[in-house]
Amino acid sequence: MNYLENRKYVIKTIFLIVGIVFAIRLFYIQVVDSSYKQAAETNAIKTIIQYPFRGLIYDRDGKLLVQNTPVYDLMVVPKEAKQLDTLRLCQLLNMPLEDARDRLQKARAYSWVKPSIFFQKLSTQDFAQIQDNLIDFPGFYINARTMRGYPHQSLAHALGYIAEISPKQLADTSYRGYRPGDYIGKSGIELEYEKYLMGKRGVKYKMVNVRGIEKGSFKDGAYDTLAIAGQNLVSTIDLDLQAYGEHLMNGAKGSIVAIEPATGEILAYVSAPYYDPNLLTGKEYGANYMALLSDKDKTMFNRPIMADQNPPGSIFKLTQALIALEEGVINPKTQYACIRSLVNCHNHPSPLDLYGAIQHSCNPYFYQAYRALINQGKSKNTFRDTSIGLAEWREQVLSFGFGKKLGIDLPNEKTGIIASPALYDRVYGQNRWKYSTIYSLSIGQGELGVTPLQMANFMATIANRGYYIDPHIIRAVGDDGKPLPEYQKKNYTTVDARHFDPIIEGMAAVVQSGTARRANLQKVGITVCGKTGTAQNPQGADHAVFVAFAPKEDPKIAIVVYVEHGKWGGQSAAPIAGLMIEKYLTDTVTMKEQEKWVLSREYMNIKSK
């Protein structure tokens, strides 16, 4: 038995000998013999990237907003570009010699063996020139790609643009899978929906020998992958309405945002001054971009969601009225006298009930109503009482979507500002401020900042009698066209639906016989409900704003028109809104006089009070 047990040593020895022989053999192959390392380098595979088609974007009626147009890049693999006739290349491409040397140097710095872009977006002529002579330039080849193209000149701010991925993004791990030279959404929808639009790159592997000559596809293309096109997007934008809105804002500064109240879909999104999105594609991208960026009118500033420093002005009286009604401190019949010693006003009958106060935008009315709202006597201390009242009021204001991001599917949305006790505590000290400190809030001035998008959303909320759906600009991803689930939820305000009726009646009066008669569409049978506003501007002429929705009975469109330095909402903003509403609801514009008035910009000459 024992002699057999000793055989375990024999077996263990056999195991160990094999292990040691393997380790020695590996040491020879991996460390001693360098021929395998050299052989590995000649085992070259050229990777050819197949760029996918970026997803297209359509408007709500299926009109093309963004398409792809083919472009050709001249690529170079420095290792293979030996004995290069640089001079001739420069002649063909029409570029200075130093420039070509720089580009080559840059390509070498990136990689000897991997392809770099030598010349981006060849023009058609350059492409033809090079294509015929490519055979004389080993290491150079043409890579076909597509570029964004726009069959119209609209919606630049919302669409955004694409550009080469930045070195910073490349270093960031969340951009894994992108390579130098790849295009990526930089702003707007292009950025927000990048992961849907980008598609999936395909890869082709070609065998090459030591001299870089192609030897055909590797393994008959068994490892090649096809590029998968990005998903198409369907926007909520009505391209006709959008283009018309831009036409009306031509030469002015400001915003138009139109929303379909029932769905939260954005119908028009104008940021003026605007630019042709085609400027930010093609060879001149860089120069155009810098020009737009340094423009004194801040053309690149995405006003509808970023201009949040301006107070809303009188349109905020609607918010105040709604909250006061909900709190029960006033009812529609409540009357206040127009006491101009409290706050300045203009000529109108006095005293007024709520409808009249909205119609005539009576400042003292809202001064008094807001005081009743803020100082409800919840604390005997006036200072404390004001603080409590303001905090409770603020909660309700926030429920209308003010003072926070609405979650629109565009990047860089701003929150706006809604006055809070903390803000005044910081400035004046705790218990050192009371209603007389904050009364300008009552008429929408003071420590308030509201984006045009928030104003439009506010109109949608009133049209819906108490709720809104997060405004959004893309209604569907992909070809099945289903609405996006994240934009189905109704956000209810703190104010009960029944309190909206008196407000809506008041707004109808504003357009019928109040400050915004220029938006009246009674002639074509549409009842518009609206409210004008003026935002005080210490730097120059006041900004004008008009908010509206229509038709009153069954609202289909809620709109804000914000005209910087437009002075009077009724004169500058209201006619634009009226035209937009008519255009959207009837597809025609009958009020040619009004259109002429808007485009003449004569309201700029109306004397201030």
Binding site: L4, E5, L16, V18, Q30, I49, F218
Partner: protein, 440 residues
Amino acid sequence: MGVETRASKYQVVTPSSKRTSRRITSNLDWLTILLYLLLVGLGWMNIYAAVYSPDNIVNIFSFDINSGKQLVWIGTSVLLIIILLVVDYKIYEHLAYPIYGFVILLLLFTLAVANPIAGSRSWLDLGGGVRLQPAELAKFATALAASRFLSSASLRQQQFKDHMILAAITLVPPAIIVLQNETGSALVFAAFVLAYFREGMSPLILIIGGAAAFIFIMTLLVPKLYLIIGITAVMALATWLDYRLLKRFKTMIALLLLIVGMIFSVDYFVNDILQPHQQNRIKALINPEADPLGYGWNVTQSKIAIGSGGFWGKGFLEGTQTKFDFVPEQSTDFIFCTIGEEHGWIGSTLLIALFMLLLIRIVTIAERQKSIFGRTYGYCVASIIFFHFLVNVGMTIGLAPVVGIPLPFFSYGGSSLWSFTILLFILLAIDANKTQELVR
């Protein structure tokens, strides 16, 4: 253990199953389990590295690629392990023959119904895209049957009948597997010789077998004349050193003639008996550079991949040669290339060391079994794993012909992982219960 026994004396009502399960976990050989987990885990990461492409990054867990699928096989292996450990360990011995019989039938059934996949008729389609290779199951079934047989007979008694029965048990499965055109898997059964050697088989068989394999390979590598001169010289030297051999001069001459005959028959064997693809594998072993894009492709590319790894390797996922399937069967049979390229000599040697540790550990476990059945089975497990390791790693570094068998626990593939898991954990189940054997 003593505590256990004492406790059971007082707690008569304790359910025996509970005691068994506690005993199982405390008596399990955790070192082996650790080595198993290391090999399976490292294998999984290397399977990902083998299919990883920087131009087309796919998540390691994605079921589109082998690493994701392997995770399913690993998960199901864990289930298998639990079942193997929970089942009464005695059934492995009691049911050894029925299991063996069933697997033989399964092999025959597969041979009859299987649709050829790449010329091999060894895959059984279970539906739903799941395929099983019964040849993999034949290894543990044969190990069980042979161990069972040896625990009742004895080779040392030199009974011819017993020898024949054992030979039949060992050779029937590979015979069917050869018919299925899976010669590689059939070769594995040669490994049983090591286990039988431990149980008393004459060392001559091992020596003759080893010498024959040596001479066969040398014939291919060295010109025949030199080889014959060399062997004659060695034999002359041996005779000179030990004059007693002179007395067996005739035997020596006969042996020499036999060897010379063998050397000359190698050509015939290679050119006329082997199939063309097998010939190519032999040629590739001898001189892969003769046709680097043809039959030499696998070996050349595999050596280039490993060789380019250098001492420290290129780093995880940094390999270039093991991408795009320069080396074919990258995540299955040639997985070792990925280690060699990305982890260099250090990584390769560590992996070899892991296998050495595992093999030595299994031998130790086998030796501590009280039953012949347990011990023989342990040696069978070690031998099978060793043979796979020998041939698989050997072929990637040009020391063995290309035979399509996987690296145990490491290569991609469900059948292979399951089969090795079953093989190993039956041994661990038997080992965990070895004290019961004593009590009985």
